[in-house]
Amino acid sequence: MGIDRRSIVKFLIGGAVGSMFTPTPWILTDDISIWTQNWPWVPKNIKGVDAYVPTVSKLCPSATAMLVRTVSGRPVRTMGNPEHPLSGGKISPLAATEVQLLYSPSRIKRPLRKASDGGWKEISWTDALALLDEKLGFVKGSATRLAVISGDQTGTVNEVLSGFVASMGSKQFFLMPSEAQTLARAWELMGGAGMPGFETAGSDYVLALGADILESWGASTRTRRAYCEARPHGEVPAATYAYVGPSCTNTAVGADIWVAAKPGSQAAVALGLANLLIKAGATSSAPDFAAFKALAARFEPATVAQLAGVSEANLAMLAEGLQKAKAPVVIPGSEFGQGGSVAAAAAGMALNLLLGAYNQKVGLRAVPEFAPVVEKAMARKDVMANDLAAYMQGLAEDNKARPEILITYEANPVYALPGDVAGTVAKIPFKVAIAQFMDETATMADLVLPSPLGIERYDDVATPAGCGVAIYCLNTPVIDAVNPAANIHGGDVILGLAAKQNANLGFNSFKDVLAAKAKAVGANVADLTAGKAFVSEAVTGAQPSLAAEAIAKSLEAKAPEGAYALAAVNKLGFGTATTAVPPQNLKLVREFELAGTLMYVHLNKATAAKAGVAQGQKVTLKAGDGKAIPALVNISEMVMDGVVMAPCNLGHTAFDEFAKGKGANVARLFTAQVEPGTGLSFWTQTGVAIEKA
């Protein structure tokens, strides 16, 4: 008998029966299911010892103070720092993702040199600095051949940068446009001392004139703590919040009152309110009160209604609210945190003066500046006077001498400045980007120097824009740099270059600069190092003026062209020009904010009917010649009549697959114009046409 088919079948059956009586099939079944529970390609938990290390966000404009949770030294996440005035234990949507941004795919990991074919070549720090040193040699002593742009609004690194620019013989050091600059310029016009700050904690009537105070304006996490304190759960709020602006921003949602006003009409509204307040008896000991009164008298409610679209009743309601309040505060600002009118800022601050809310506990406060430590550094006033938008426009129009070298420090002007500056920047022969992420500006650079993230380095934060008290905080590295080749602070880079150029700034390292600063501030360095903030509630200065003359002159500015007014909105959740949308935050983008690569712009039903567009329709927004962005229509009643609302910080062309190509960059539509009387560019007023695509 050979082995026939039948024996094999029998053998197999026997085997099958037998195996049923062994544990193997059951154990295997179980083990296989356990295998699916621990797939090797799914990351595993890494255990360790918890620690919470304090720092302050350098990425988020809110300057939220954070604790970084580390597990055996490994950073896990950021959370609010309960012991810190810039947080109160809470956190902004951008700062909340800062640890994850350490590993953002668009982080720059080592110095890069643009190759002749347009690609990138990794080079060593030594080579990179030698190259830069050599280039700098050619521009030394020239007032126009070096320009430096900084994206840091709060750090002492600006002293190093401006000191360096100054020692190189130039004055072309610019900050990226921000509220701080608008306020500083307005404050200067008013003759105020120190920096203007706004304190809302303890106020019973907070009027935000355009400023998105509960979202993106100033140290918003701090502002929002005051908002929270004034509104106990389920009880009648202790403070009324009112928001004036063209769209129902997050601040408007949180506020009790949203009064719709055309984009960039803050000055008109403020003057209208001033008119009503003065009529009701408000006065000021300011030297130019009479002139201001005369100016305000031109803004009768009917005029304001026409200029700003604010109904007479609403204007009266706001005036009454301010008047009746015990501790009111008016906060003027651009709807999207940049490009605001200086005159509007001045008019808004003047309201505080009329209300007597000046240098009190609540309201407008002249916050003292911290003494500079880098001797050669440009004065803050001079830095604030440097108008980057105007400079770029000058370059574009060949009115200004083109620089040979442009250094950007954690700034992304190519993306964020109004209009299209890429072409202008491209013409600059040598561009250096000191950056954390591969943003639009870094992409255009000839040399890219990586910058560590705030939680990886020594740095500092001094009184964020509009903050009602003086605050100084020191950052120490929370963790070891995740990219060892990207662990040199831009401040150190500049100090090194300065030394090589014999333009000594008096410090060997940026850490020394910080130590000197801490000392100059008068803070306890040990406390600062331990993560505590230095806070000074002192105010400075005498009676400012109401800047009547400048405001009056500013009214000569031309009204925007275009059938519809553009209202941009800036949400911290969507990131900033330098971070783009952080990967996690992409989930914050709502359904009717982005569809694939197209973003939505929002207009109300009446406006949509007028424009003849329907929900979901593809349109092109056009502003002036050649400036256009594609978008989809979302019909939303959160926008006033005649206005198109669009989000900032979408539409990046650089960064990673999370941010790139998502929506369009609304900054492309802005046109900056120098404001008469104040001399600073503004772009809060943009007229657009809606064309069906």
Partner: protein, 212 residues
């Protein structure tokens, strides 16, 4: 082919009983052997600990107690295996003269590296185990006669190696990656589902008591 099959069918009845049963029996026996003896051997891989740690010496000669290394932190977490840094408190340089200690110091302390300890009772990520909840203060309220040592090896939680001179071999399931002595859920439930325990914590057999 068809004919052959038909033929076989016809003559099937005449096959000897043994001949009919033999292949079946062979398959049966072979599968039983594989199932009971071979496959458990194939399923697990045996590994040695990276360091020949001697519990006994530490206890008897250095006079250490368990909680010198295995302690609770202030935040309620449990230290588990001490880190190289903690070991280096004593072993920055070799304390004794053993070659193994010297090897440990050279390989880990000097380089500041953690040994890749194989944890006999390593639970997967989806398990949350609170050492604090399983302390003598809790369990000892009723089990008054238990020592800490007994508590730690109740229900097979930990192999009793507190007095060992060398760590036992570690065997790992090749499919699941679990240690052979990783407690399965039923072993946890040996205590958790015990009706007698309900009075003390009515929900101690809830899913989230142990899962994360």
């Amino acid at each position: 082919m068809e004919e052959k099959r038909a033929h076989n069918a016809d003559t099937g009845g005449q096959c000897s009983v043994l001949g009919g049963f033999l292949p079946f029996g062979l398959g049966l026996v072979l599968s039983l052997l594989v199932g009971w003896w071979l496959s458990p051997k194939l399923l697990f891989s045996e590994q040695s600990q990276p360091v020949a740690f001697n519990h006994k010496i530490h206890k008897e000669e250095a006079g250490m107690t368990c909680s010198d290394c295995h302690y609770f932190r202030e935040d309620g977490s449990y230290s588990g295996i001490p880190t190289t840094k903690e070991c280096a408190d004593c072993h920055e340089f070799p304390v004794g003269s053993s070659a193994k200690e010297r090897e440990y110091v050279n390989k880990y302390v000097k380089k500041g590296q953690e040994p890749d300890w194989k944890v006999y009772q390593m639970q997967p990520d989806n398990v949350f185990f609170s050492h604090a909840a399983h302390s003598l203060e809790n369990c000892g309220k009723c089990h008054t006669d238990w020592t800490e040592k007994e508590l730690c090896s109740t229900s097979g939680c930990h192999p009793d190696i507190g007095d060992s001179e060398a760590p036992p071999k570690y065997s790992e399931n090749r499919i699941t990656g679990y240690s052979a002595s990783t407690m399965k859920m039923w072993a946890c439930e040996y205590c958790h589902a015990m009706p007698d325990h309900r009075a003390y914590n009515a929900n101690n057999n809830a899913c989230f008591t142990c899962h994360k």
